[in-house]
Amino acid sequence: MSKSILSARFQLDRPGFRLDVDLQLPCRGVIALFGHSGSGKTSLLRCIAGLETPRRGKLSLNGETWQDDNHFVPTHKRRLGYVFQEASLLPHLSARGNLNFAARRAAEVVTEAEHHRIVELLGIGPMLERPPAQLSGGERQRVAIGRALISKPRLLLMDEPLASLDQARKQEILPYLETLKTELDVPIIYVSHSPDEVARLADTLVAMEDGKIVASGPLTETLTRLDFPIKLGEEVGSVVEATVAERDAQWQLTKVTFDGGELWLRDSGHAIGRRVRVRVLARDVSLSLHQHNDTSIVNSLPAVVEEISTEQHPGMALVKLKLGNTPLVARLTHRSAHHLALAPGKPIWAQIKSVAIIQ
């Protein structure tokens, strides 16, 4: 796929709210629009879709202009897919009718095989004949995702597709979203306020606050910025891309390697060679001047201190480390930081208490 660039600039005024963004992003993989509710994520997504008509706007994808001072390509000609927050299936059509509605209006012919592939990918085959009212919330959202994908959009926009679902339904849909990401070559802009979803899905992170973009960039680097403007509290952490290297059947453990070391974690059945994403929360990383062998902590890795800052609580420090090229964040008290005489450039051992494969 050619390198695609999304360039967006919008000013939108609504009572009590102002969206003012200027964004240039490589448009591939999953771009997460992340922020608290009311930060303007959905408004930005709607502007990109053409569902809002901002006072001033410039929008282009791959050099094709969707909006500027003189042009406004209407939504139905933008060739995008949109998954709304709450189920939005057309109620007068069955699940199949909803898919067909999209397929018939696609810019390119949707072949039987492509149709079948989407149905298989989302596991919606058994429910195609049912009307939306007879589907569960999770099933409806899967059909809605299939409907958005079937017309082969050039860009898929998802507005908190999991927000209206309970925890069990979220877990039901997340694996499908991860499959989409790897199976389909369509860039996704994904709106979410959940750090967990972002860590699992995003490749690029765009953080929003009060209608403005406050940080953006590749997920790992952006998430570990100590000046990351959105307070994540207990969810501060980093995401590490790793490869499954070894499985220990006796102890039921899996070893993954990444640029900067290796980690042992609970075996989760992933095959050797598989790319996985691992999340390490800052609260689970402690620091030590020496490597200890008399501890229950399995993962102890050499690292270099890069930056130290104060967390929300004045007594707590966030320390950014580099393990090879991989950034990691540790949370500890300022007193500990002082005792260890932490300073940028100092070599240190990072002890990781807990780590989980999230994808």
Binding site: A49, G50, L51, P74, Y82, S88, R105, R147
Partner: protein
């Protein structure tokens, strides 16, 4: 006893009138209802009020002005004469025009309510799926507003059946052209022919009751708000 030939002629004329009027009303009311349900124009209130006028005006007032307008010296009358179709009062088509205006609110409102109730979301969904505005209107808006159309058609039809004042003002009492059931009943009563009046009046009660019972006992209530 039973219906006389004149009664049957009145029944046939009434059904023909109500059918023609209902079809025309659905055609006219749909774009009006669509506009009213979506516009933010400041004239919306004025237009709604004009359409709702027949709900409150005495039929004679409406009939009086329609008679003047469609008469030889009225603006509509001058137009119809210029077009070579003569004047409309005391003709079947004069009754059709008057009935359309008289029953308009009964048809616009249920359709408008149904279109407002669906909200913006289905339209946005259709747009993201590649449907243009006409496509969306015919394949999303109309099917979703169907209950409103059913209510509108039934109310338009039955309301036209029951009209009397406007008919007298604009149509008079010409057998086969403007003498509808309600006028025929009036004639029977004037002639002290109560038995004959009973047949028609009773049939009207039964028919209207049956239709309304059907309307109200549907699973999803269809009536105004």
């Amino acid at each position: 006893m039973g219906f006389s030939a004149a009664d049957l002629q009145a029944i046939w004329l009434t059904l023909r009138l109500a059918t023609v009027v209902t079809l025309m009303l659905l055609l006219i009311a749909t774009p009006i209802a669509w506009w009213l349900s979506r516009t933010r124009c400041r004239w919306k209130g004025v237009v709604s009020a004009v359409i709702a006028l027949p709900l409150v005006l005495p039929p004679t007032v409406l009939g009086f002005y329609l008679l003047l307008a469609m008469g030889p010296n009225g603006p509509v009358g001058q137009l119809t004469q210029a077009l070579g179709i003569g004047t409309l009062p005391f003709t079947f088509w004069g009754l059709v025009v008057a009935s359309v205006i008289y029953s308009l609110p009964f048809v616009v409102q249920p359709i408008q309510n149904a279109m407002e109730a669906m909200g913006e979301r289905p339209l946005e969904v259709a747009a993201t799926l590649g449907a243009g505005s006409a496509d969306t209107f015919f394949n999303v808006v109309l099917p979703l507003a169907r209950p409103g159309f059913v209510t509108a058609a039934i109310l338009g039809f039955t309301h036209t059946l029951g009209e009397f004042g406007v008919v007298l003002m604009i149509g008079g009492n010409i057998p086969g052209a403007t003498r509808v059931i309600s006028v025929q009943i009036y004639d029977h009563v004037e002639a002290m022919d109560y038995a004959q009046a009973h047949w028609l009046a009773g049939a009207m009660v039964l028919f209207s009751f049956a239709v309304l019972a059907l309307l109200y006992s549907r699973k999803r209530p269809l009536l105004l708000k």
